[in-house]
């Protein structure tokens, strides 16, 4: 007997337009479970719109999709209970301490009592924030804020984590550490969708998809994409594909 695993994300011909502007144009995409998927593309390529549709914040104009097996239109509430999301802005309460932020988001995702306290301390330890747990989030520097936002997003052990440009303006050494966190999570079985416009970063992903002007123009393993076009880096692949379209 073979166990057919349903994918973490499955989209078919998903489209969204705002007035005349087509933000997402017939995107078809399957992301298996336990995979780190990198969604690449310049600003305005439609990455954020796509993520917002996955979370049911925006309703697609056409096409269908499931996230963790739930329909993105009809079962959005269920998806929101399961998925974790880190926005570009690291949405933290600046006047709440690191610890209070974690407890708040824990409560939001239904954690309570000892389980919440345990999870809180576990995440504070794991991210190295324990010694700063009493500091207001607003006083933390960029790197620590990012870690805290990340911890808040995974407080409920989400089987799927969506990260929107988590490393914009982050120095390479911190980025290396951040990827270590992601690999740890993936090793525990989480599926991860991460958007980025750093092409060197995309090389970290198991699978990547390249978006340009709302369309998904290429997808596959980084090594396969590079091999197909006989190019040494994903950045070269991106530049070639993007200039080919102009």
């Amino acid at each position: 007997m073979t166990l057919v695993q349903e994918p973490a994300i499955a989209l078919c011909d998903l489209s969204k337009r705002f007035d005349k502007f087509i933000a997402v144009d017939r995107v078809t995409l399957t992301i298996p479970k336990g995979v780190i998927f990198g969604l690449l593309g310049p600003n305005g390529a439609g990455k954020t719109t796509l993520i917002r549709m996955l979370l049911g914040v925006l309703t697609p104009d056409s096409g269908t999709g499931t996230v963790l097996g739930f329909d993105i239109v009809r079962r959005a509430a269920q998806i929101r209970k399961l998925a974790g999301y880190v926005s570009q802005r690291f949405s933290l309460y600046n006047d709440l301490t690191a610890e209070e932020n974690l407890v708040f988001y824990g409560g939001v995702y239904g954690l309570d009592g000892d389980a919440l306290v345990e999870r809180r301390d576990e995440l504070l330890e794991w991210t190295g924030l324990y010694s700063r747990r009493k500091e207001p989030a607003g006083h933390l520097s960029g790197g620590w804020r990012r870690r805290l936002a990340f911890a808040c997003a995974i407080v409920h052990r989400p089987p799927l984590l969506l990260l929107d440009e988590p490393t914009g303006g982050v120095d390479p050494i911190s980025r290396r550490r951040f990827w270590k966190f992601l690999y740890d999570l993936a090793a525990q079985g989480s599926s991860i969708l991460v958007t980025t416009h750093y092409m060197d970063e995309a090389e970290h992903c198991d699978l990547v998809g390249l978006m340009l002007g709302g369309k998904l123009v290429a997808q596959g393993r980084p090594a396969a994409l590079k091999a197909d076009l006989h190019l040494p880096t994903l950045e070269e692949v991106f530049v070639t594909l993007a200039s080919g379209r102009k």
């Binding site: 600003n43 390479p172 416009h197 970290h204 991106f238």
Partner: protein, 299 residues
């Protein structure tokens, strides 16, 4: 051209920059790198004269008017059009004549924004905004250009175009100091200055920095094997200093290089079938990771 001696800046109890000394020759392109809060922006703002040093000296061999500074935040008016921004910038620098208009037009063409001259600045993409900012800074003749993270948040194509412009300026003799969070950009500079917690840890030619690196970098690869297994395999190397995963490979930093013989035995020693160990050239990233004090990462 530019001589900085024991430059120090503190904001209250926060030491932003501590006794940084640096010399830059005319026509040099210097990249500033370092983690968040390392002092890159403070250094650039001090050089631009936007901040007063707590102590230390800055000797600049050019007129104040011939220094151009581009801040990390988009500092143009989003509610003015591209051309109105250019005009305004020219006027506040006292440039009112026909020559200034011609230069403005020429610069807009050069940065590829001529066709967008009537568009509101707010409606430009990240890359276009940076190009407009650069055009505005270059309106008056500059000998020294200070750019704070000019390519952050800019897509790869625009970044390439931006670098072509910078290279053109440098070849015309402009001295450029820029901060960046992309190390492959830093590698293109004549020299790279590495800042950490306000201190200058190194400043040298990228190739020489890499040559200083005492360890060997080895890439482990095994088709169809999980990251956890690769990580486990990495720990079997006795001279292991550090390791990190990168996509489907594992990169190890080893204090002793492996012999060819040892490499061929890698699969056998680690017990991972098909494991390949291949030496690769260290990158600037490896060099800086090694220079950083262990606990400072990411803070």
């Amino acid at each position: 051209m530019l001589q900085v001696t024991e430059l120090t800046k503190s904001f209250g109890r926060l030491m932003a920059l501590y006794e940084v000394s640096l010399q830059v020759a005319r026509g040099e392109l210097v990249g500033l790198v370092g983690p968040d809060g390392a002092g890159k922006t403070t250094l650039l703002r001090l050089l631009a004269g936007a901040l007063e040093p707590t102590y230390g000296d800055i000797e600049v061999d050019v007129d104040r008017e011939r220094i151009g500074y581009l801040s990390a935040h988009f500092s143009l008016y989003p509610d003015l059009t591209v051309w109105e921004n250019v005009e305004f910038f020219a006027q506040i620098h006292g440039l009112h004549d026909q020559a200034a208009r011609r230069r403005g037009k020429h610069l807009l063409e050069w940065v590829g924004l001529a066709e967008f001259r009537n568009r509101l600045a707010a409606q430009l993409s990240g890359g276009m905004k940076q190009k407009l900012s650069l055009a505005c800074v270059l309106l008056h003749p500059t000998d020294l250009l200070l750019l704070d993270e000019p390519t952050t948040g800019v897509d790869p194509i625009s970044r390439r175009e931006f670098w072509e412009m910078i290279n053109a300026l440098v070849s015309e003799g402009t001295t450029v100091l820029l901060s960046t969070s992309y190390l492959e950009e830093a590698a293109r500079c004549h020299r790279v200055a590495f800042l950490h917690q306000g201190k200058l840890l190194a400043c040298d030619d990228p190739q020489r920095l890499i040559a200083q690196f005492p360890h060997t970098i080895m890439e482990l690869r095994a088709p169809g094997v999980s990251r956890a297994t690769l990580e486990e395999a990495a720990r079997r190397f006795p001279s292991l200093v550090s390791a990190y995963a990168f996509g489907d490979v594992m990169r190890l930093s080893l204090s002793q290089a492996l012999t060819d013989h040892q490499r061929q035995l890698a699969a056998y020693v680690t017990g991972v079938p098909g494991l390949e160990a291949r030496p690769i050239t260290p990158s600037l990233e490896d060099v800086f990771a090694w220079m950083l004090p262990a606990e400072g990462v990411g803070s």
